[in-house]
Symmetry: none
């Protein structure tokens, strides 16, 4: 899960980043309004945490522009204390949830998780694709009901494929989601992870479309 944190207060931003990283999100932060708008418009995020008071370009304006451009990722807006008008405006502008400052990090994380789940079209902590099931609470993976032990990195890969199980994910997008552009790994790192996962899951779960990317097999023929 890739999340963009737009917050100009560096202390809050780093706290947010730490909390979200603990929740297995991959976090990028941005303190400038113009840059935030550009990032949200061009990059693929699973969630955006958006502060309203920003230099150069206001958060509400950013959000409206994204929506009018068809960007539909879930956006969690941070509002100032008691600023009721901001809430209304934020929801009008297309926010999916809001959280008044100051807030507890656990609550933010909980709402972030809920938004990501909701955007994946699932209200439950269980996500399924074919014979594979992810439990986002326990961070466990089961295959045909049998538990499979996976590492944190492997889980993040599966989790992302699960969220976008309706399409094929190019290797570049996966690399970007697992690591980020800044500390880029070679493409082979991803292939290594895939190989290890296949050894655990068997074939017929993690599919490849040569030249396009990876995906989760929707159904597993034969029992």
């Amino acid at each position: 899960m890739r999340v963009l944190v737009v917050e100009d207060d560096t202390r809050i931003a780093s706290d947010l980043a730490a909390a979200l990283e603990n929740a297995a999100f991959r976090v990028e932060t941005c303190a400038d309004g113009e840059e935030a708008w550009f990032l949200g418009d061009t990059e693929e995020y699973d969630l955006v945490v958006l502060d309203l008071g920003l230099p150069r370009l206001d958060g509400l304006t950013i959000l409206k522009r994204w929506r009018s451009n068809g960007r539909d990722m879930p956006v969690l807006v941070l509002t100032a204390r008691g600023a009721w008008t901001e809430r209304v405006e934020g929801i009008d502008a297309g926010a999916d949830d809001y959280l008044p400052k100051p807030f507890r990090m656990e609550e933010l994380v909980a709402r972030a998780r809920a938004l990501v789940r909701r955007s994946a079209g699932r209200g439950s902590a269980q996500q399924e694709a074919g014979d594979l099931t992810l439990d986002t609470n326990r961070m466990t993976v089961t295959l045909r009901g049998v538990p499979v032990s996976v590492t944190a990195l492997e889980y993040r890969l599966l989790s992302y494929l699960m969220l976008h199980r309706d399409r094929i994910i190019p290797p570049g997008e996966l690399l970007e989601h697992l690591y980020g552009d800044e500390d880029a790994r070679e493409a082979n790192a991803l292939e290594a992870v895939v190989t290890r996962l296949r050894r655990k899951l068997g074939s017929g779960v993690l599919g490849t479309r040569r030249g396009f990317g990876y995906f989760l097999e929707p159904v597993e023929p034969e029992g």
Copy 2:
């Protein structure tokens, strides 16, 4: 367990805080109505102890506002002696329990515990996970029926893991609950607590998922 004490009499407030801290609550106090409303609206508490006579904003008004905003944490209202109208109003406003002043600290603590248990969806004071049992009344821990002596910090760790035993708790979340954001400890402090607990409980009780966090083992294989 995090509790907010709203009381403008500083002496009563400090007594309350001392008693609740003895009962392993993490206590925050507040003497001002406006501030209390704000805190309860934005922070996550497991319990609020609310005095009705407050400067700037009346306790009942605060409570009504919280409820209308969807804040559903348990609230224990302190009423003046014999003011039965306040009781009715308090319950109408959404109080979960009330206690007439003056009261015995033991009774307050008992009711506080009961409220927290009820809100956690458990009617009993016993909470179990695998071979481990917590008695939230007596703050004792037993392993396979054998009492185990744990410190206050260790108990709070176990208590939090017990409350969320359906999922994996990241180290950051545990640190935040044990200490709070303000006085942060190094991650190693948590690891030290875990090591000491394991020495007391043996292996197979407090589990680690590398890269994810800690959890209570649901079952203990072999007797």
